[in-house]
Symmetry: C2
Subunit: 241 residues, 2 copies
């Protein structure tokens, strides 16, 4: 995985913030100092800072400098586009995955047709996985991965990390996703699987795309409402859409 200079700089600054070499509520070295430090042009340093700015790690203040913000830790279950494996690792959680289903299908299952009425009939892999935190079921992930783009899906990939398999084994480049969070009524079957008191769950429905804008995966993620927490960092929009 080739990284650009600006990504290396951004990564390095993020690491130094994490290890408190650069402290929260203080200013980073100025752009001209960073330019000397990393031996690059100012625009390259600025690109790195812009990346960190958009992530909410710093706030750039004109005439003063780049202030390090107290970025709240990623909260489970989702923020941005990350796999369960990545999140549970970065949060240092006691997490297990139980694969309930892994099957090749000749068309989109009913569950997906209902939630994604615009998607056409397609072949693919259906994966159903129960995520447990501290031994207690918390999330049911239902994935549909399209064939022939994804032609094989070993059980080991479903047990550990599908994203890792796609990116590192198959060389696919996961790029972006659209997500929709709603509160839904669920049936008894799902209620039992998640061990819920009520027939209500938080649903996170996603379309997932590769860097060439190919839709490769649909996801329905059912969460225990009492455990669900979504944390977001948002900047005020200047462009009207």
């Amino acid at each position: 995985m080739m990284q650009s200079k600006s990504e290396i700089i951004a990564q390095d600054i993020a690491a130094k913030v994490k290890h408190q070499q650069f402290k929260v509520n203080s200013f980073l070295p100025s752009e001209s100092e960073l330019t000397k430090l990393y031996g690059t042009s100012r625009e390259t340093v600025r690109k790195a800072l812009e990346e960190l700015n958009s992530l909410g790690l710093i706030q750039k203040i004109r005439g003063k400098g780049s202030l390090v913000l107290n970025l709240e830790q990623y909260s489970f279950p989702i923020s941005g586009i990350s796999s369960f494996a990545e999140l549970s690792q970065s949060l240092g959680m006691d997490a297990q995955t139980e694969v309930l289903t892994l099957a090749k299908m000749s068309s989109l299952p009913e569950l997906f047709k209902k939630k994604f009425p615009n998607e056409k009939q397609q072949k693919g892999f259906y994966v159903e996985r129960l995520r447990k935190i501290n031994g207690k079921p918390e999330i049911l992930d239902c994935d549909f991965l399209f064939t022939p783009l994804i032609n094989e899906l070993p059980l080991s990939a479903a047990q550990t990390s599908i994203y890792n398999y796609l990116e590192n084994e198959m060389g696919l480049e996961v790029s972006y996703a659209t997500k929709e969070i709603t509160v839904e009524k669920i049936d008894e079957n799902l209620q039992k699987k998640l061990n819920l008191k009520d027939k209500t769950a938080v649903l996170v429905a996603s379309h997932n795309y590769l860097s060439d804008a190919t839709l490769f995966q649909l996801t329905l993620s059912y969460h225990d409402p009492s455990k669900f927490k979504f944390v977001d960092f948002a900047r005020r929009q200047r462009i009207k859409l």
Copy 2:
């Protein structure tokens, strides 16, 4: 409000996509063509495209061009950082706001202390507003705005748009927010106000900041779960935090 060249270009391209002068699923003119079209340097055009890319309006594909994506319309109630007034206008909704409370407080109300235990005692304005869509109550917004930064808050501002008042009347620059979405148990009082069947609501809790990183507002937004929908566009992260 001064806009940079790159913002003007981004805004212009977004408008042309909206009016189907640039069509979804087709490519924008190449960067060199846009450079000629807008009479700027390539880096300036690229900055505009990068902005649109991060918003999910286009997908840049190396060697091919910038593909216009089918961006789902902003769904109510929140995406990014926008005011209720802005959202209801851009979505063309039949929305009303009823101001239930507007009071100057000498300290943070209990409700906020409970949800934001890290915030210190502070003076400010407490605003409670009921949002109705098609005449039906859907959201209860509870805001706390800090004094002395915000020293006056006319009722008319609370009835229309507090953000508009802060930005255009007071000259403050709203910059970013951290948001947390959870599902909460609510009391009978709140249940009545929102006319809910169950004692459950979706809570969106926000810290809102100015461009100089000053915290100016805390918000607790209670939503009818059956109406709640949060739509998010997310790009895969390259920087590990």
